[in-house]
């Protein structure tokens, strides 16, 4: 096994021929000191070939290897300099998906004396380049012998000696997590210990239609209607209009692998918009207002609205107000509205005060921004005075239009995102709360979501970007169940409830 010294610490390395990695198509996972980490793996021969071609095209790079076919990937872990306030970690991988470290047959050395040069010659090395400040580049006849040369020079106490690595750096494209992370993050297992949802609690999804024939949604459907097209009592979407199907799945998919948050609840599907075939949405104020009124009159306890951004409309605002005040026999329907994805001030209807305006968070419990750690640098959660709370909004597992239409060729997707996905998460949590305690008023649901939200990013109180924090379904449902008794009327304290491991910050 090869090794070298970095930051004063010796690190064990494994070397794997680039071509072999490609041929095996092996997913290289190492269980080193840093724990299991996804390592670099060229996905296709063309990727390895492109690396080889690139090196061959450079006189300087190609001179670092006698035979480019022997390119070798370096794997292992090196010490990490801890950031201020960060927890100490044991190491970071040398090769990752974004940085591929390739060993060469060369060593960089400084401060060599004549005797050192003679020793390297005896080892079989030759100087192939000299540079500023006494740096020399030594070459041996194989990658494996590089590490022996480094050891030899360090034993002779030269100024420095280190392997000369090449690095292929690519832009990092994030992959979806292997599990439905969002469920763990919001403590769904604990919430489900209270209830998985009651069929008496109806959740309305107002969107571009819902695939109400989807095997995971069909059993939940109790009412559906088209308010924009010609489908009458069907809310089926047209073409690839999959947005509503994804939103509905987050609330109440009954699939075992892709379950919704409140799979025991019932679905009201209202089609209020349709794609224009050109990344646009068509909707109409009056019809949307009528759809809102129809939903709460159909008994919707929760209305999930993953849309917005048009011109404000009193017809829509007033319909929402009726839902909030007259829904559920006067207890009020819970209205959840997406904040929007432009990382700008929240627009209509999310800017209406008094509703549950929802922003997005990521797996590391950060507010989703264009620079947050999830890597989706093309969108960020909107912000403003009506922000109530955040919920998971990246890499969300949910239903897709069944069959080839929609986001994926199958019946599900793992990459739904946006405040569009965060909003039905809150809608689902609210549905569980009302399933646990149907006597809760809409104000109580709002307050409980506020007081149980997990404070993130060192927030002390409400902020326009984070609202009251990130949805904690476990606490919200647990407190909802016992709400109403005099002792439970006070806001839950920070220390209440045991911290779930899933809620811990990654790396902690």
């Amino acid at each position: 096994m090869a090794s070298y010294v970095a930051l004063g610490v010796r690190h064990e390395l494994t070397l794997q021929p680039l071509q072999q990695m490609v041929n095996n198509e092996a997913l290289a996972m190492t269980a080193g000191p840093a724990g299991a980490r996804m390592m670099a793996r060229p996905k296709a021969k063309s990727e390895a070939a492109s690396i080889v071609e690139c090196i061959k095209g450079s006189k300087i790079l190609s001179a670092r290897m006698n035979d480019i076919a022997n390119l070798t990937v370096v794997q292992g872990a090196v010490a990490v300099r801890p950031n201020i306030g960060a927890r100490r970690t044991t190491g970071a991988p040398i090769s990752t998906r974004s940085v591929l470290t390739l060993a060469t047959e060369t060593v960089i050395a400084e401060g060599l004396r004549q005797a050192d040069i003679a020793a390297t010659r005896d080892y079989g090395a030759k100087i192939i380049a000299e540079a500023l400040d006494g740096k020399v580049l030594l070459q041996v006849d194989s990658v494996q012998r590089v590490f022996g040369l480094v050891d030899l020079l360090l034993k002779r106490e030269v100024g420095s000696a280190t392997p000369n690595f090449m690095r292929r750096i690519t832009s990092f494209k994030p992959s979806p997590p292997a599990t439905a992370w969002s469920h763990d993050k919001i403590g769904l297992t604990a919430a489900w210990a209270v209830t998985r949802g009651s069929p008496d609690i109806r959740v309305a999804v107002l969107d571009e239609g819902v695939d109400t024939k989807h095997p995971s949604l069909k059993p939940a459907v109790v009412a559906e209607r088209d308010f924009i097209g010609n489908n009458g009592n069907s809310a089926m979407p047209s073409g690839d209009d999959a947005h509503g199907t994804a939103c509905a799945g987050i609330v109440l998919s009954r699939d075992k692998k892709f379950p919704g948050i409140a799979p025991g609840c019932s679905l009201i599907a209202a089609r209020i918009a349709m794609g224009d075939g050109n990344d646009g949405w068509i909707f109409e104020d009056f019809s949307t207002a009528d759809a809102i009124d129809w939903c709460w009159r159909q008994g919707a306890a929760v209305l999930s609205n993953s849309w917005g951004g048009g011109a404000p409309s009193d017809a829509i605002s007033r319909a929402f107000a009726r839902a909030r005040t007259q829904g559920r026999g006067g207890l009020g329907s819970v209205v959840c509205i997406a904040a929007g994805n432009a990382q700008e001030p929240i627009d209509f209807p999310g800017d209406l005060p008094g509703y549950l305006t929802v922003g997005a968070s990521n797996p590391k419990d950060e507010r989703k921004t264009k620079t947050s750690s999830d890597g989706e640098d093309w969108w960020g959660s909107n912000f403003g005075p009506t922000m109530h709370l955040l919920a998971p909004g990246v890499f969300i597992w949910t239903t897709d239009i069944s069959g080839p239409a929609g986001y994926e060729t199958g019946d599900f997707t793992k990459t739904f995102n946006g405040t569009s996905s965060a909003t039905p998460a809150v809608a689902g949590a609210a549905a569980l709360m009302l399933s646990a305690n149907p006597a809760l008023s809409v104000a109580s649901v709002r307050n409980l979501l506020q007081t149980t939200a997990k404070k993130i990013q060192k927030q002390k109180t409400w902020t326009p970007e984070l609202g009251w924090g990130r949805l904690d379904a476990a606490k919200a449902v647990q407190f909802a169940k016992v709400a109403g008794a005099p002792a439970q009327l006070t806001a839950p304290k920070k220390a209440a409830g045991k911290k779930k491991p899933a809620a811990k910050k990654p790396g902690g």
Binding site: H243, D276, A311, S313, D314, E376
Partner: protein, 165 residues
């Protein structure tokens, strides 16, 4: 004078959209203009209106549509393109508001017809069939009778809410 409407008690300004035209299909077809000539590939909307780029229709077709009164005004507000329809929706919170609206309509709005009425709202259409008249009516009713809401009916075209790269 700039176009506007009311929402939340505030004036919302509307820019005129010169890029698009909105066609009332029924009116156009009644005038003998075929669906293909007026953008047959566009989705049918409630209200029977289709939006088309002005540049995709020739001057001859545009003149014909204009002559047949089949064009509806198109506006912009932020990222939304709005098509106004010749219909006004008025909503009340109480009897006082309702009486004020009814009194105003009876005295000054003979050129409009009530097409639907319930306890808490009514729908009004200008006899001209012109959406610009409807916009003026909606604003005048709000400014003079002070109901809870009074707005022309809009169809909105906005960017899809998804965040695909």
């Amino acid at each position: 004078m700039k176009n506007y409407y009311y929402a939340g008690g505030r004036k919302i300004e509307l820019e005129t959209d010169d890029e698009h035209v909105a066609v009332d299909r029924a009116v156009a077809e009644a005038a003998g203009l075929t669906a293909s000539a007026i953008g047959g590939g566009l989705p049918d909307l409630r209200g029977g209106v289709a939006l088309s780029k002005k540049s995709s229709l020739g001057d001859k077709v545009l003149d014909a549509l204009h002559g047949a009164s089949a064009l509806r005004p198109v506006f912009r507000h932020d990222q939304a393109v709005l098509v106004a329809l010749p219909e006004v929706r008025v909503e009340y919170d109480d009897l006082t508001q309702r009486n004020a609206v009814k009194k105003l309509l009876a005295s000054d709005f003979h050129d409009a017809a009530i097409t639907e009425e319930t306890e808490d709202r009514l729908i009004l259409k200008p006899r001209s069939g012109d959406a610009r008249d409807a916009l003026k009516m909606a604003n005048e009713i709000f400014e003079r009778a002070h109901p809870a809401a009074s707005s022309v009916r809009f169809v909105q075209f906005i960017p899809k809410p998804g965040v695909k790269r």
